[in-house]
């Protein structure tokens, strides 16, 4: 089964697109690439002002109690204009972890702040190449965490982090305030992601889930975030497909528009196929939250969205020829973002394994 967007959802899509197109431009995004640790203030202010930060938070914590479908729609639009900060997804993941596994005290403390955007959340589950490590590098003991969580998107500016750590009795998903934690900014190809290594040195941390359930909880949070990221990737792929099309019907060579050459025309048609498959998988996955097959659907969405965005970034630049590789044209913003989103929430190899484990009944 899948769903059709209702009127309220359609208007979320239309309104967020209108606002983002008016307020985020490539002229503002390009300089962010050349500085470390700066995000697009206008984007984040807009997200807070429009209530997008509150979208998936329960009502009793000042949220709007909507879900993956609605947040996905906004992520799709953000992907089209290139989101100016990673916090919509990172704060969403942190808030979900607190909502699902936290105590009342933790919820009361953090959820309203995350809903308003006053606080920013980050999620640190991966250990390098391992998106969901069996032996996390960060250790948890005596209500403290120690060790370095590497490459945490949003980590440079976040106020709190949900961290998968290795406890004395197996894995533990914990919550840590980042005030006073040493952060090392990563000089990245996509600097507005505010990526940092978080150096925990006896940082106080509170348990959300520990033992065997911690791993399943971490996967669930990853899957929820992956569905949002997949929407963002699909939005990026969609605008690149449209941009390639628009260029192909105006640029002339050899006496005709280049879109009349099948090598170009079919390339754009193939992008359409990838975008529509990704979109359908995203909508389907968003509609399966809470169902048994949710992780499977999330994995499929993630795989097809990564393929769509990567292919669209490559092909859109190729179709533009020389102009496509210039700094000014800004297509490299998408090429860079396609790469950072391909890594965040676990790469394609990780999700392929998750998916096949489920199809073969070997899921842990």
């Amino acid at each position: 089964m899948s769903i059709l967007y209702d009127e309220a959802q359609q208007s979320i899509a239309n309104e967020s697109r209108r606002v983002l197109e008016a307020r985020v431009s490539k002229e503002e995004l390009l300089p962010l690439l050349e500085s470390t640790g700066h995000y697009h203030d206008g984007f984040w202010d807009t997200a807070r002002e429009q209530g997008w930060t509150a979208l998936a938070v329960p009502e009793e914590y000042d949220g709007l109690a909507l879900g993956l479908v609605e947040l996905g729609l906004i992520a799709h639009q953000a992907g089209r204009t290139i989101s100016g900060a990673p916090f919509l997804t990172s704060s969403f993941g942190a808030a979900k972890a607190i909502e699902l596994y936290g105590s009342d005290t933790q919820k009361q403390k953090w959820l309203p702040r995350l809903a308003s955007g006053e606080s920013i959340g980050a999620v640190a589950i991966a250990s390098g190449a391992d998106a969901l490590p069996r032996q996390p590098r960060v250790k948890f003991a005596n209500e403290q965490i120690k060790g370095v969580a590497t490459g945490v998107s949003g980590g440079l500016t976040a106020d709190l982090a949900v961290v998968l750590s290795q406890g004395t009795a197996g894995p533990a998903l914990v919550l840590a305030e980042l005030d006073g934690v040493k952060r090392h900014a990563i000089e990245s190809f996509d600097n507005s992601r505010c990526i940092a290594n978080l150096d925990f040195a006896a940082t106080p941390a509170e348990i959300l889930v520990e033992g065997p359930k911690a791993r399943a909880a971490a996967l669930h949070i990853l899957a929820l975030q992956a569905v949002i990221t997949a929407h963002e990737q699909t939005g990026g792929a969609e605008i690149l497909m449209e941009t390639a099309r628009d260029y192909a019907v105006t640029r002339r060579a050899f006496g005709q528009v280049i879109g009349a050459f099948q090598s170009v025309k079919h390339r754009v048609a193939e992008l359409y196929a990838l975008v529509e498959l990704a979109r359908a998988n995203c909508i389907h996955a968003a509609s399966r939250e809470g169902k048994d097959d949710f992780v499977t659907a999330a994995a499929a969405a993630r795989l097809s969205a990564t393929e769509a965005y990567d292919t669209a970034a490559r092909d859109c630049i190729q179709i533009h020829g020389g102009i496509g590789v210039t700094w000014e044209a800004g297509l490299h913003l998408h090429m860079r973002r396609a790469r950072s989103l391909a890594i965040e929430q676990g790469n394609a190899l990780f999700w392929e394994d998750i998916l096949v484990d489920r199809l073969t009944g070997e899921a842990a």
Partner: protein, 401 residues
């Protein structure tokens, strides 16, 4: 339960009840003639049970329901491997066109009823040696002959012509005007003098397509189904009439579960293939692709139920699913190593990798080649320009050969 779910449940029950009589198991080892006879009985059983012509008007013997019920029934029917192939074209295109464009409606009604019961089969005489994808490039001609017409020429790739009683045909009636404007649409009696059908053996060994030769075949003007010179529009209507058909994200090849089972039970270098990253990647990628197509189909159904027109993304199914099936079938054969050589030309492509593989090229060409589908997506959905066409606006008989 919604009305459509109830409909699906009833249909599924009925299909299961007749599956032992007409389904996959009953067909095993039958000659084509015996299989066709079984197919005619199955078609009649569908008619009696109210599952023939589901979305056709009741005055023609149909059920008067919508394409939602039709697609629902078809997606359930597909699971059992019934001998429906012989009637797919007939009931899919020529017969509905006869209902819509046949000038003698009494005659049309009689034909429609017999076709619905599986007693008569219609074929579609479109493609020719000189025009497949380029349909309007066809050369078979009809010349005025007394009060009627005389047809000469050759058609090609005509499915099930060897079993057909009638056919619809597009022919050139005026070579002095541009190619699209000189065509006219008729129906013909396939048993008429001068019609000769020669089956063509395909790569997989079967012969469901034919060459059809017309040698001074005389027809009266009441066989005409379009204005003279207006045949191309009716031909397009024919190709559009079956917009809502059950799709198969497996590309009419085996289900992905069969591939997973194969990978589970096969080893390479002492390791089960299901643990091999190369195989796992193929499984994951194919699953993601198929789930995307299934989600597109599910949303199309929801749109139809909501009275909306499904989006153009439905047109992706054949393009994406069949070429993926081709590659996956190659891989499935290779995986079996020296056990992979066996070939059974009676095997079904829905559950046999070798049959799926050998027939896959046909799937990528018949009913719209991949390249034509890409052109259609590019032109109709994305607004990209048509290819350069040197024959545009040129009288047919002036087009350089």
């Amino acid at each position: 339960m919604s009305a459509i779910e109830a409909y699906r449940e009833n249909a599924a029950k009925w299909l299961e009840s007749v599956a032992p009589t007409y389904g996959k198991a009953a067909r095993k080892g039958l000659s084509e003639e015996a299989d066709l006879a079984l197919g005619r009985r199955y078609q009649n059983a569908k008619f009696e049970a109210g599952y023939a012509g589901i979305n056709w008007p009741t005055e023609y013997g149909g059920q008067g329901l919508s394409h939602i019920e039709k697609v629902t029934f078809e997606s359930e029917e597909m699971k059992h491997g019934f001998p429906t192939g012989y009637f797919g074209i007939s009931l899919g295109m020529p017969v509905p066109i006869l209902m819509q464009f046949g000038s003698d409606q009494e005659f049309a009604k009689e034909r429609v009823l017999k076709a619905l019961k599986g007693e008569e089969i219609w074929c579609q005489l479109f493609s020719e040696p000189a025009g497949g994808s380029d349909l309007a490039g066809l050369r078979t001609k009809a010349e005025p002959d007394g009060n009627g017409w005389k047809i000469n020429g050759q058609k090609l790739w005509t499915s099930w012509a060897q079993y057909s009683d009638y056919g619809v045909i597009v022919v050139r009636t005026d070579p002095n005007v541009p190619k699209h404007k000189g065509l006219t649409y008729f129906w013909v009696d396939m048993k008429a003098p001068g019609v000769e059908v020669r089956p063509i053996k395909l790569a997989g060994g079967d012969s469901h397509v034919n060459e059809v030769f017309f040698d001074d075949v005389k027809i009266s003007d009441d066989h005409r189904m379009s204005p003279v010179g207006g045949g191309f529009a009716v031909a397009m209507a024919t190709l559009m009439i079956e917009r809502y058909v059950a799709t198969d994200s497996a590309g009419f090849g085996p289900h992905l579960d069969l591939f997973v089972d194969l990978a589970k039970t096969t080893e390479i270098n002492g390791k089960p293939l299901i643990k091999d990253g190369r195989i796992r990647q193929q499984i994951a990628r194919n699953y993601a692709m198929r789930s995307g197509l299934n989600a597109i189909t599910a949303r199309a159904m929801l749109m139809m139920q909501a009275g909306m027109t499904p989006g153009p993304e439905g047109s992706l199914n054949k393009l994406v699913s069949v070429r993926s099936r081709q590659k996956l079938s190659e891989l499935a054969i290779d995986l079996q190593g020296s056990d992979g050589f066996a070939y059974d030309d009676h095997a079904q492509q829905k559950d046999n990798w070798t049959s799926s593989w050998i027939n896959a090229p046909t799937g990528r060409i018949a009913g719209g080649a991949d390249e034509m589908l890409l052109n259609t997506i590019a032109e109709k959905i994305l607004g990209l320009p048509q290819d350069h066409r040197p024959d545009k606006g040129v009288a047919f008989n002036q087009i350089p050969a």
